[in-house]
């Protein structure tokens, strides 16, 4: 084959970030959209019921959202790696009861929280090991651990329950107190959320979670320790479920063997509504947190508007389907936009060297005009 050496085509100043800005905008939009829905909902409710945004009202909104935000943050990490943890509800329940039992026996609140977290970490490790070593779909594995942990919880707890009367006053105060309308619990959730988001963006191992969710085979070839990362994501998720258990105890003061039953589905809904893509590789913990806040607020909004709360579940379902539909449409749009862009660039580049040299200058002009590709 004789290849004529091409004159080095003068590289036109890169059409800066057309594709990136597009995608960036979409992702920001995704989070902004949930925020907008949330704010509109609050505004409408406030208009219909001026009591809604009282100090206590705001506090209740935040308190209700906090626990789901925490668990959704952990779940996001797992979902980003193209896995899922269905056992978070069971983990939350058993951690809450363990912390309660310890406090009932006169334990120190700080140690109780640490205990709950450690228990969660333990179950997270178990899930992570089973998923990463077993090569079995996470859905099935964690469905199994969901039942196992719940079963152990039921056997251990039996018909006992912990009530606020069993807990030290300082712990109960911590659960309901805060800085004016902002509860301590919400502050803790916020710190965890911001730290997690920062980690995901600025640390190599955080980005690798996205990478291995995006293309597991490529992640393996790129030398990413896939199993280790998945194990870490599950451990983190379990730890946060444990922490959420301790907070549940502080907030409600009432724990029995059914605490957290079915919670995993709410968590997964929140994550998906928040724009974390179920097939991995994309989404943010901020989105998941907003999703969690949106879902829990609906439960406060409906009674405030005088609507029966039985509608809550149906509305959650509609939101979930809506979120998935929007994601799908956006994904298709973005993909075809990107494809057209690169096709246009390529048509220009594939011409003979002389033409290419001439047309590369044109590329910048032509970038919007993709249909001729």
């Amino acid at each position: 084959m004789t290849v004529t050496t091409p004159e080095q085509a003068p590289v036109a100043e890169a059409p800066r970030g057309g594709g990136a800005r597009l995608v960036d905008r979409v992702f920001k939009m995704r989070e902004l959209a949930i925020l907008a829905v949330f704010l509109v909902m609050i505004a409408v409710t406030q208009a219909g019921n001026s009591e809604f945004l009282s100090e206590q009202g705001v506090k209740d909104l935040l308190l209700n959202g906090t626990i789901l935000v925490l668990v959704a943050t952990g779940q996001s990490l797992v979902v980003i790696t193209r896995n899922v943890d269905l056992s978070v509800g069971s983990t939350l329940g058993i951690s809450a009861f363990a912390a309660g039992t310890y406090l009932h026996g006169g334990g120190d609140p700080v140690i109780a929280i640490v205990l709950a977290v450690l228990l969660g970490v333990g179950f997270g490790l178990l899930n992570g090991l089973l998923v990463s070593l077993g090569q079995v779909p996470a859905l099935v594995v964690t469905l199994g651990t969901l039942y196992i942990i719940r079963g152990v919880d039921s056997i251990w707890v039996g018909s006992r329950q912990i009530t606020a009367a069993d807990l030290p006053g300082s712990f109960v105060d911590f659960g309901s107190g805060g800085v004016s309308a902002v509860p301590w619990l919400a502050l803790i959730a916020l710190v965890v959320l911001v730290a997690t988001a920062y980690y995901l963006k600025h640390y190599g191992s955080g980005r690798e979670l996205y990478a291995l969710g995006s293309n597991p085979e490529a992640a393996r070839l790129a030398g990413i320790p896939v199993r280790k990362r998945i194990l870490a994501a599950y451990t983190f998720c379990g730890g946060l479920a444990g922490l959420a258990g301790a907070m549940y105890l502080a907030r409600f003061g009432n724990v029995d063997s059914s605490t957290g039953n079915g919670y995993e589905l709410t968590v997964v809904s929140a994550v998906v509504v928040g724009g974390v893509v179920f097939t991995g590789g994309s989404g943010s913990v901020y989105g998941a947190a907003l999703g969690a806040l949106l879902l829990t607020s609906i439960n406060s909004v409906l009674p405030a508007l005088g609507v029966s709360s039985v509608w809550g579940l149906a509305i959650n379902g509609v939101l979930l389907l809506l979120a998935i539909a929007v994601d799908r449409i956006v994904a298709v749009r973005v993909a075809s936009a990107l494809k057209r862009k690169s096709a246009a660039a390529r048509t220009a580049a594939a011409q003979t060297p002389v033409q290419a040299a001439q047309s590369s200058a044109r590329t910048t002009v032509r970038k919007g005009d993709a249909h001729d590709a």
């Binding site: 990136a20 190599g204 973005v334 594939a350």
Partner: protein, 505 residues
């Protein structure tokens, strides 16, 4: 052209008597290879000769069953791709391995990004380094753009940038030019020469023999997993190389019978599926084998899927034996006498955990029925009949197909479709990854079918196969049919020119 001095430095990377098996398949048996600094070394061999396994062994993906990997003359064991990379070995795989959700910059630096304080990623430095790499490669890709939606060529460029981003001592390239245009290939070769001058060792794989002669100093040939020769390229001819790769005369491998084509069996008119392929028209006559050539991603498989009704088309029509087919309905296509042997036999052609007889029986679920129930006896005799006619090598017809070798699996897929008595047979990459012997058998079979009056449309990325088997060659480039070349006119050059869009430009 370079000549590594045999008296010079030790090989930077070497394999010594390496063997590797996957189940019953012996992918490599006693292969040795030495890569010297400052040389471009070609690895030649047919599909299925063991090239990919060899690369993955060097890259730390596979660990050899026997033999050793030597780095700077010292035996090493790579526990994973990360180890190989840390040793300075960069690999560009045939199939790009990008993360669609991440930006180009992140894709390039995944696993070893510039850091700043507290181990955080230095996003700015990552971006700047990417811009510099793109400049060096002379391409205009936005570092912040996600990899999703990049064309195959652009993906390949990102892969190359990835390999360049750490000063690799050994660069392994598995068919890096397959999807590139002429000027892109020239640019890539410029980069390869620079790397060679800087003392890197390059292992180069290409099905375009002329590229081996253009850029490589030595060539190692593999055949059926065995080492055949390592020798200087100078003084060799393409024929010499082909003979080493194939181990027999080409005529034998491509037993094409001359047939006078009959009436039109399949007619595809102005078929379009938006964003995938555009305005594709062609005819296949009874007795004819029509080759459909093109680069990976040109839209060949997609056309076949639409013709068969798996994907819907947006415009145009498909006519079999004078009757138009319903859009998006494989069952009517089957009734009309169409059969499609898909590209990926493991995922699309076979149910791997089912027995040979059941797999062959799948296409007869509607015909081998007695009183509404499956007639197991008829199913078995039909399967046995075809398994014998195609000389499938198996222990028992009730064995699951995953116990068979690749070539025999392919025969089962063929049997499954031939049992429907098709008028039009579409085969997509019929001999990918199967050994030379079985390959010749598959070719003989296709030739006999055509002689019996079946219209055959053969999609293949294997140019010699297209040239050896097809009466006519259709070539696709980026979703369009760019050329129709008669058997007598078809050469590697004419087909490749049309496939890379050079003829059209």
């Amino acid at each position: 052209m370079t000549h590594p001095s045999d008296t010079g430095p030790a090989p930077v990377l070497a394999l010594k008597d390496v063997a590797k098996s996957f189940g019953a398949v012996r992918a490599l048996r006693g292969v040795s290879l030495e890569l010297f600094p400052g040389e471009v070394h070609a690895l030649a061999g047919e599909n299925g000769a063991g090239k990919s396994t060899l690369i993955k062994t060097l890259a730390g993906v596979h660990r050899p069953d026997a033999g050793r990997v030597l780095l700077d003359g010292e035996p090493v064991v790579f526990h994973g791709p990360g180890d190989a990379r840390d040793a300075g070995i960069a690999v560009i795989y045939q199939e790009p391995t990008l993360f669609p959700d991440l930006s180009i910059a992140e894709n390039i630096f995944m696993g070893r990004r510039p850091r700043r304080a507290l181990g955080r990623i230095d996003h700015k430095a990552t971006r700047a380094a990417t811009v510099a790499l793109m400049k060096r490669l002379g391409v205009d890709l936005d570092p912040d753009r996600p990899a999703r939606g990049l064309s195959i060529a652009d993906q390949q460029i990102v892969e190359i940038a990835k390999a360049l981003s750490f000063d690799a001592r050994v660069l392994i390239m598995d068919e890096p030019t397959a999807a590139l245009t002429g000027s892109e290939v020239a640019r890539l070769f410029g980069v390869v020469r620079t790397l060679r001058e800087q003392g890197a060792a390059v292992l180069f794989i290409s099905h375009r023999l002329e590229e081996i002669f253009e850029i490589c100093g030595r060539v190692t040939t593999l055949r059926d997993g065995a080492w055949i020769a390592s020798e200087p390229v100078d003084g060799m001819t393409e024929d010499d190389l082909v003979r080493r790769m194939v181990g027999r005369d080409l005529d034998e491998l491509y037993p094409k019978q001359d047939v006078t084509p009959g009436e039109v069996a399949l007619s595809v008119r102005r078929l379009t599926r938006e964003g995938v392929f555009t305005d594709v028209s062609f005819e296949v006559r009874r007795g004819e084998i029509v080759g459909l050539a093109g680069l990976v991603g040109a839209g060949r498989t997609e056309v076949a899927r639409a013709v068969f009704g798996i994907d819907r088309w947006d415009a145009g029509e498909v006519v079999v034996d004078g009757r138009p087919l319903t859009n998006g309905a494989p069952s009517t296509a089957m009734t009309a006498g169409l059969a499609l042997v898909p590209e990926d036999r493991r995922a699309q052609g076979l149910v791997m955990d089912m027995s040979i007889e059941r797999n062959i029986g799948l296409t007869g679920l509607r015909t081998t029925v007695k009183a509404g129930l499956m007639d197991r006896g008829a199913e078995r005799s039909r399967a046995l009949d075809w398994a014998v006619r195609l000389q499938v090598k198996y222990a028992r017809i009730a064995d699951t197909v995953n116990t068979l070798s690749g070539g025999n699996q392919q025969k089962v897929v063929l049997a499954k479709w031939l049992a429907t008595g098709p008028k039009v047979l579409i085969v997509d990459e019929p001999t990918r990854g199967i050994d030379v012997g079985t390959k010749a058998e598959v070719h003989r079979l296709l030739s006999e079918l055509a002689a019996d009056g079946v219209a055959v449309l053969m999609i293949s990325s294997d140019l010699p196969e297209i040239l050896g088997m097809a009466d006519r060659v259709l070539v696709m480039h980026e979703g369009r049919l760019t050329a129709e070349i008669a058997r007598t006119e078809a050469t590697e050059e004419s087909v490749m020119a049309a496939a890379t869009g050079r003829a059209a430009a």
